[in-house]
Structure formats: C-alpha cells, structure tokens
Assembly symmetry: C2
C-alpha cells in the first residue's frame, strides 16, 4: 500500500487542492472578496506553513501543472486583450512600469541599508542591499489578472494599463536581475547579451504572432469543421511561444503566452477558444497554480529586530508600488481613481519575488535573515492585492458583477 | 539554456504531443478510421520505438497527466452510462468476461508451452507459461470506450455489455495475477486478502456512490448558482474514488473513476458536467494518455523463432478474445452481429498488458525473450481494435456519424 500511495498520491493531492481552493474561494466570495484570495489561503493552509498536508512526491507534478496553469492564465488574458487598446496604453504602461521599478529599488535599498549586517553572504553590502530592491520590483500579474477577470474589468482602460505595465515590469525585472547578478558573479550573465536576446524575442516573437494571426484568420473561416482543432492548435502555439520565450530568449514563459493570446484575439473563433480555455483553467490548472504559491511558503522563525524589518518591508512594498505606478499613471493623465487602481494592481509580488529571492540566495547575494521577511511580504502583498483591487473598483456595480459571474459560469 | 531546457522541456513535450496526435488523428479520420488510431500512432512515432523525440525528463509529468487522462476518460464513460441498462447487462457481462479470461489463459498457456525454454527466469515452466496466459487476459477498455464514443455507440446495448465485461475483466485479471504471483513468490500477495479487499471495494465504493448521488441530486437542484462548483465537486469525487480504489482496495483506479461517473449520471447537472470534462479531456488529458501508450513501446530485436512466436501470439490474442467474449455474448442471446462487436471490443490489450508483463518480469515469471513479442502484440491489438470496431459498427450510418461529431464539438 505504501508503494501505491507513492505512485498514486498525486491524485489525492489534486483532489485536496481542488476541494479546498473551491471551498475557501466560495467562502471568501461570501465575504465579498475575490475567490482567488480563498485559493491563495488554501495553498498556505495545505503547505508547510500550516498543516503540511500535500506530500512531497506530488510536488514536482504540482509544479508542472501550476506552470501550465499560469501560462494558460496569461494566454487567456491575451485572448481577451484588445491589441489596439493595449497599443494605446503602451506609452503610459512604459512610464508606469519604469517608475514602478525605480521606487521599489530605492525603497528596498534604503530599508535593507538600515538593517543589513551581511549574515550568510559573501558579496558587498551595497549589492546585497540593492538586491532587496530588485526583489521588490517583481510584479506577479497573475493574481491581478484573475481578480480583474472576476470583476469583469480586465479589458477596461486601467486593466489594459496594468497588463501592459506588468509585462514591461517583467522585462525590466529581468534586466535588473541580470545586471546585479553579473556584478556579483561575472560568469552568471552578460547584460549586452541579455538585452540582445530580449530584443530578439520582441522581433521574432512578434513576427511569429503576426504569422499565426494571419494563418488562424484564414483557417478559422472554414465553415462546418470540427471546432476542436482550432482550440488544440491555439494551445500548441501558446505552449511553443512560452517554451521559446523562456529557453531561447530568457524572457518569462508567461510573456510568451500572453503574446500568443494576443495573436489569436480578433480571429473568428476567438470567443469559442476562450471559453474552452476557461474550462481547462478552472477545472484543473488555475486552482493548482494559485494553491502552489501558498504551498511554497515556509514560515520563518522571527526575532524582534526581524519583526520590525518585516513590518517596514511590507509597508515599503505596498507604498513604493502604489506611489511609483500611481504617479506614472497620473503623469499620463489617468484620473486619480484609475491611478490608484493601477498602483494597487501592481502590488502583488507572488511567486515571482520568491523565485528572484531564491536565485539571490543561491548566488550569496542575500542576507539569510531576510528570507523570512521576504516570504511574509510576498504572502501579504499577494493576498491583499485582490482585496484592495475589489475595493478600488467598487462603485455601485454589485448587480452588474453578479451578471458577469453568471455569464462566465455558463 | 540547458538548465532552462531541463526545467521547461515538458512544455515542448506537451506541445509536440498535442500537435502530432491531433494531426495524425485528423489524418486517420480522413481515411475513415477513428481519431484514436492516429493518436496511438503519434505516440509510437514520438517514442523510443521510432524517433525518440520526447525527452526523458518530461516522462514523469507525462505519466501523471496520462493517468489523470485515463481516469477522466473512464469517469466520462460512467457519466454516459445508464445504470439500469448496465444492470440489465450485468449477467451477460459476467459471462462475457469469464469466457474472455478463460480462452486467453488457455491459448496463452498453449502457445507458450510450445516455445518456452525458460530463458531469464527462475520459476517453474508451468507458471511461466500460465503467466503468458494471464497477460493475454488483460483488456484495455479505454481504447474501446474512446472509439465507441467517436462512433456514438457507447450507450448502445453492445456498448454497455462491453463496458460491463471490461470492468469485470479487470477484476478477474487482478485475481488471476494475484494467484499466479502468490504461487511464484508467496510473499507477494494473499489471495483471500485480495478477494476481501475487492469485495470491500464493491460494498464501500457502492455506498459512497449512492451517498454522493443523493447529495448531488439535492445540491444541484439549487437554481441560480454558479455551475462551476458542481463540476469541481464531481472531479474531486472522481479523483478520491480512483485514489481509494487503487491504494486501499487494490482495484484499478479507472474502475473507481467509472463508479464515480455512474454515481453522477442521472443527476440534474450531468449534461453540463459531461461537456466540461469533454473539454478537459480533448484539450490536454486524453491526447497525452493515448500518446503515452505508444511512448512506452520499445521495439525488440527479433530472431526467426521469435518472429514466428510473435505472429502466433498476435493471432491467439485476437482469436481468444473474439471467440471467448463473442461466445459469451452469443450464449446470452445477443445477435451474431452484436456478439462479434462485443468480441472485437475486448481485443485491445493497451497499457494494461504492458503493466502486467512488467510485473511478471520483475518477479522472474517471464522468459525475457517473450517481452518483445508481447510489446508487438499489445501495439497490434491496440491499433487494430478501433479499426475493427469501426468496421463492425458500419451500417449505412455515415451521415448520422457526422451529426454526432458536430454535436460533440460544440
């Protein structure tokens, strides 16, 4: 029975994740919060931070499913994106992203400067402090995308600005990470090479997307064919773009997936395709993804000084994104309300910050005492983002929301 | 880049599998064969038998996805099953299964008796020859289910008889395997204990299904709720039943999944639930499952004598199931046409026979020379089954088929 448990344990893990994310999601919805909050909390509860229920031998499978989960999530966001609207917000998105990177770097550096004693590291204190800043630049757009979808605001003007800015933020984050790691250990990367690869992704990726867009437009006009082939072909393109972005160009796979989604938006079968991915997502992939964020959290042991550092770090994480991105939006003539929404939409650090922190620890760029506070900052910003977003978008639209919910569930 | 390739290679593998199974599936459909034939061939081509394209570091993920794939396939078959119809075919199914186990055991023993020189084994020749018979009893119902679905015949009278017989065949197979392995190595299992566990599965599993059926009937009558919760709850139940069947009762996970499907059939939201699982299946799970069967095939080196043995083994595999199961059906007053259909529906050995053969090899129960022929027998019976089934069900119903296809794709 032990052997069977080992071999089939992943079935139990998936069952537990689906049940708990849905149950807690419906519970948080009862309290007028987005369902994604419940899914995140479910992951925390199931993981080593609280009950430690999910077996280790399922984790590699769960990690792979969650990777496909976030890819499909961003792909779906691309499918719903109006490319003309996104282009229009291109300028503002760039400014929002740049300020949303600069403010956290400065804020992170400042707070690390006050507390860092260099424990567990072998690089210069300057680089270490800078690295805390780099961690704070990370934006996990997936939480925001899911929340905006639930609120029916993904293709609003502010939604587009957030999407664009988060994607650019990802690029800027890669550049910042490469600069600092190449300063710390010259072997780990060459900044010119990284920039060339990013440029290559934009050129080759855009060409691939334009080509696929034209192909789909022609192909999908065939009447009377079984529609499944279009959905499968779209998925294949999405996976290939994600894979290529990550492996050949060093860009995040979700950026590739988003590009793929945009390529398919505005083709004749887009609506049908979107609805099928919606099912794939909610029935398996996205619960596993959102739970997996919490599953990775290990709560640290805390001392007095570290608790103070944690509180300050959380505050800096919140404020630098709200002010940085909000200021960027405001400078681009967004209304006050929309500027705040955009700032809030960029708060969530999610799994991205955890990945960056792990990389820094491996390179000796991080004071090991800081790992705990960073985890707590990630958990806090990730769970608070959908709650704040919901409040920021709250007008008198409660009945409208229910209609949107009902529509998305049929 | 190598590291990234290792980490993200599974995305490429899934993309290649989806693309090739769909492409070859459409191709075989062009030649009036079921799409599942194309998917099986795709797996063979991608695997070590031909091009060896799929990377080893993706295989653990692919195996897990394909396990969920076959579970969802059998769950969906359960959803479409009319429990009253299945009960009616209970008696015939039992006889079909029993004869469909006896004939292959005798046939397998006979042919092994003629060729076996005991190479690579340390058990008695009698048990070894018997084991070839046990391997031949295995029926892989998944191929037949998928084909019957494509043909729109899953809930026909003969379809129900095949389903029931295949499930009973699975139970008989476990019993036969347990008997022979416990004779070979007394530690590996106790037949009384196995029988008690199987009985326990039927009692406890049935109670769980009745309970869940009543619960779903009540719960689904709530109007105006988001329907997703019903689909997710069904999936959780399916996974828990599969897991429990395998881990606690030693019964195949797909039998548990089928039970779960039957429990949900005839509840108010069954049609909606079925359509969502259909999407989950064709968009990710079932292409991976069917390809994975071919991916496991390694073609052996052959000598003259082994080639003759292989040809005879394939013939025995075909004939014993067609005659055994067909005779069972005929004795139960099925028409000649339906008896042949039922016999053909039970031919496919699929992944089940491979698993049994592996187990036998590990226990020293198998002449290692026989492994190659068994693989070829599995490939042949698996690919020929959907083709023969399509021929056996061919009447003048071509237009009807197209309607069924169109309906299932919307």
């Amino acid at each position: 029975m032990k052997e069977a448990m080992h071999e089939y344990g992943f079935l139990l893990s998936i069952a537990i994740i689906l049940l708990s994310t849905k149950f807690l999601g419906l519970l948080t919805q009862k309290f007028k919060m987005p369902q994604v909050v419940g899914a995140l909390i479910a992951g925390l509860l199931l993981g080593p931070a609280v009950f430690d229920i999910i077996r280790d031998d399922s984790m590699s499978f769960i990690n792979n499913v969650s990777e496909i989960g976030v890819i499909v999530l961003m792909f779906a966001a691309g499918l719903e994106t109006d490319i003309h609207e996104l282009k229009k917000t291109g300028g503002p998105s760039l400014l929002i992203a740049v300020l949303g990177v600069l403010f956290p770097i400065v804020g992170g550096f400042g707070i690390a400067y006050l507390f860092n004693d260099g424990n567990g590291t072998d690089t210069s204190l300057f680089l270490q402090n800078m690295f805390i800043g780099v961690i704070l630049t990370a934006t996990s757009v997936s939480i925001t995308v899911e929340t905006l979808k639930e609120l029916g605001k993904l293709s609003s003007k502010s939604g587009n600005a957030i999407l664009g800015a988060a994607l650019i933020d990802d690029i800027l984050g890669i550049i910042a990470l490469t600069i600092i790691t190449s300063l710390a250990s010259p072997k780990s990367g060459n900044i010119a090479f990284v920039l060339i690869k990013i440029a290559g992704f934009f050129v080759i990726g855009s060409l691939a997307c334009i080509g696929f867009h034209i192909f789909m437009k022609k192909w999908c006009s065939n009447k009377g064919k079984d529609l499944r082939r279009y959905v499968v072909a779209s998925f294949v393109f999405c996976l290939l773009m994600s894979f290529s972005a990550e492996v050949f160009f060093g860009v995040a796979d979700i950026t590739g997936a988003f590009f793929a989604g945009v390529a398919i938006s505005n083709t004749p079968r887009c609506k049908y395709i979107t609805s099928r991915f919606d099912t794939l997502s909610y029935l398996l992939l996205s619960p596993v993804f959102f739970a997996s964020i919490g599953l990775k959290v290990v709560l640290p042991k805390m001392t007095g000084e570290i608790i103070i550092f944690t509180i300050l770090l959380v505050i800096v994480a919140l404020i630098t994104k709200i002010i940085g991105c909000g200021l960027g939006a405001k400078l681009c003539k967004f209304s006050n309300k929309n500027s705040i929404r955009i700032g809030i939409g960029m708060i969530s650090r999610g799994e991205v910050a955890l990945i960056v922190a792990n990389k820094g620890e491996a390179l000796g760029l991080m004071n090991t005492d800081f790992f705990g506070p960073i985890v707590i900052m990630v958990v806090f910003t990730t769970i608070i983002t959908p709650i704040l977003l919901k409040l920021a978008y709250k007008t008198k639209s409660v009945p409208e929301l229910e209609i949107a919910d009902a529509a998305s569930s049929t």
